[in-house]
C-alpha cells in the first residue's frame, strides 16, 4: 500500500466534519474490497477515514413494507437476521453467500454498494428490489445510484448511511459463483411485486449490475420459465475474461434467470 494517514470519528456528523477538513480521503467500511485494492495499488488515497465507531450506521429494521439495513451492517448480521429471513429470505441468502465466513464477519452492505464491484451481489438485490439508497446527501433510487464499474452517483464526501429494500411478494437470487473468489460469475436476482417483475443481473456485464428489461417484460406478462423461452441475452455487452468468455456469460444469465424464477415460484406460487 502507498502510505496514508488513518483517521476516525465517533459518529457520522463528526466523520463528515473530518472528511470536509481533508482535501482527499476515502471512507473505510469493512475493508474487504478497499484494502485488497490498496494493497494491489489499484486504489490509493492520502487519507483513510474508518467508519467503525459510527454505531448509528449499524442495524436492521423491518416494517410491513420495507427492510432498512444500516450501511455498516455486516453480511453475517444480514444473513442471520430473523427480520430479513422472514421479510426477504432471498436477501438473507444473498448475504450468506458472499465471500467466506471471515469476509462476512467484516464486509458490510454499505461498503458493497458504495464500491459497486461489477461482480458484487448486493447491487443486484438493490436493482431488483427497487431499493432506495440513503446517503448523507439524501435518498437515491437504486436505478439512479449505480452508474458504471466502480462508479456510483455518490458525490465527493457523500456517505452511504443505509438502504431501504421494499418487501416483494416473492424473490430469489441465483448465483453462479466463481469457484475461488466466490464473487458472482453471474448472479440473477428476480423479485415479484404483485404481477410486476424485476430482474437484475450482476457479474456478467462490462458496465456492472443492470436490469434485464426484456426478461422483466416477459415475466410480468406471465410469471413462468416458459415466458423466458427464446429470450436471448445480447453477448456483445457481456464481460469476457479468463474465467468465462462473453458468450458463456450471456448463456449463464439465461440459465441463472430460469433458476431464480423457478426458486421464486417454489417460495411463493404466482398469484
Amino acid at each position: 500500500m502507498y502510505p496514508f494517514d488513518y483517521h476516525r470519528a465517533g459518529n457520522v456528523a463528526d466523520t463528515l466534519t473530518l472528511r470536509a477538513s481533508l482535501a482527499d480521503a476515502r471512507f473505510l467500511a469493512g475493508g474487504m474490497s478497499l484494502l485488497p485494492m490498496m494493497k494491489l495499488r489499484f486504489a490509493s488515497t492520502p487519507n483513510i477515514i474508518d467508519l467503525r465507531d459510527c454505531e448509528e450506521l449499524r442495524g436492521i429494521e423491518a416494517s410491513y413494507e420495507v427492510v432498512r439495513i444500516g450501511a455498516m451492517t455486516r453480511h453475517v448480521d444480514v444473513a442471520a437476521s430473523a427480520d430479513v429471513q422472514a421479510a426477504i429470505p432471498a436477501l438473507a441468502k444473498l448475504a450468506a453467500g458472499i465471500g467466506d465466513p471471515m469476509v462476512r464477519a467484516r464486509g458490510t452492505m454499505g461498503g458493497s454498494i458504495a464500491n459497486f464491484d461489477p461482480a458484487a451481489c448486493y447491487p443486484a438485490a438493490c436493482l431488483a428490489l427497487g431499493a432506495t439508497i440513503q446517503t448523507t446527501g439524501g435518498d437515491i433510487e437504486a436505478d439512479e445510484f449505480f452508474i458504471g464499474v466502480f462508479e456510483t452517483a455518490l458525490k465527493d464526501g457523500e456517505l452511504v448511511t443505509g438502504a431501504e429494500f421494499p418487501i416483494p411478494d416473492a424473490a430469489a437470487y441465483a448465483k453462479f459463483r466463481h469457484p475461488a473468489s466466490r464473487f458472482a460469475l453471474v448472479g440473477v436476482f428476480v423479485a415479484r411485486f404483485g404481477e410486476l417483475v424485476r430482474v437484475a443481473v450482476t457479474g456478467a456485464s462490462r458496465s456492472g449490475a443492470f436490469r434485464w428489461a426484456a426478461a422483466e417484460d416477459a415475466l410480468t406478462e406471465s410469471f413462468s420459465i416458459r415466458s423466458l423461452e427464446g429470450l436471448k441475452m445480447d453477448h456483445s455487452e457481456m464481460n469476457g475474461d479468463i474465467h468465462g468468455d462473453n458468450e458463456y456469460r450471456a448463456h449463464l444469465v439465461e440459465v441463472m434467470t430460469r433458476r431464480a424464477v423457478l426458486e421464486t415460484l417454489e417460495s411463493a406460487p404466482a398469484a
Binding site: P3, D100, M102, V103, R106, A180, R182
Partner: protein, 205 residues
Amino acid sequence: MPTLTLAVNGNIVTREVTSSTLLVQFLRDQLGLTGTHVGCDSTQCGACTVHLNGDAIKSCTALALSCDGGKVTTIEGLAQNGKLHPMQEAFRANHGLQCGYCTPGFVMAAVKIAERLGPNADEETLREEMDGNLCRCTGYQNIVKSIRAGAKAMLENEARDEISSSPQGLTDPDARVCNDAPQTQEQSAERKAQVDVFIENSRGS
C-alpha cells in the same frame, strides 16, 4: 506515529504503529507472534486467520488501527497451561495437516465453526464453512475429520468444565492470560540473559 492498544491472548499491549500496518504485520513483526501466517496476502487463503472480538477474521485484510481497543486471540493463545486446545489436539490426532503452513488459520477458523455449528454438522456444510481457508497438501479429508472431532471434544470439555465449575471460568479463551512469549527483540535478549544467569548460578551451586 499513532498508538495502538490491543488485548492479545490476554496480554494488554500498547505499541506505536504506522497507519498502514496490517493486523497480521503487527502480530508477527511487532509482537513476534509468528504462529499467524501470511499465505496469499489477498484475503483468500485464510492462513492469517485470528479471532477479533469473538469473530474469525483474516488479519491480512484489517488495518491494525481498525482493531484498536479490541481483543485478539492468535494460535499461540489457544493452548492452556501447556495443554493443547481440543481443536489443536484433534488436528494432531487426525493428521489434519501435512506441511502445516495453513494449519494455524484452519484451527482458528475451525474453533469458530465448531462454536457456530456444534459437532453434528454434515460434511458438505463443513466444507462450505472452510471456504475461506486453503490447504494445498491434504485434500481436506482429514481436516474435515479433525473439525468434527475437535467440535465434539470442545462440547465435552465445556460439559466437564461446567460440572467441575472451574473457579477460573475458562470457557472464554480470550479471558485467559496465556503464554508470556517474548514480544520484542529486546525482550528476547533479556530473556536469554536471564536464562544464562540461571544456568550460571545452577553450575555454581
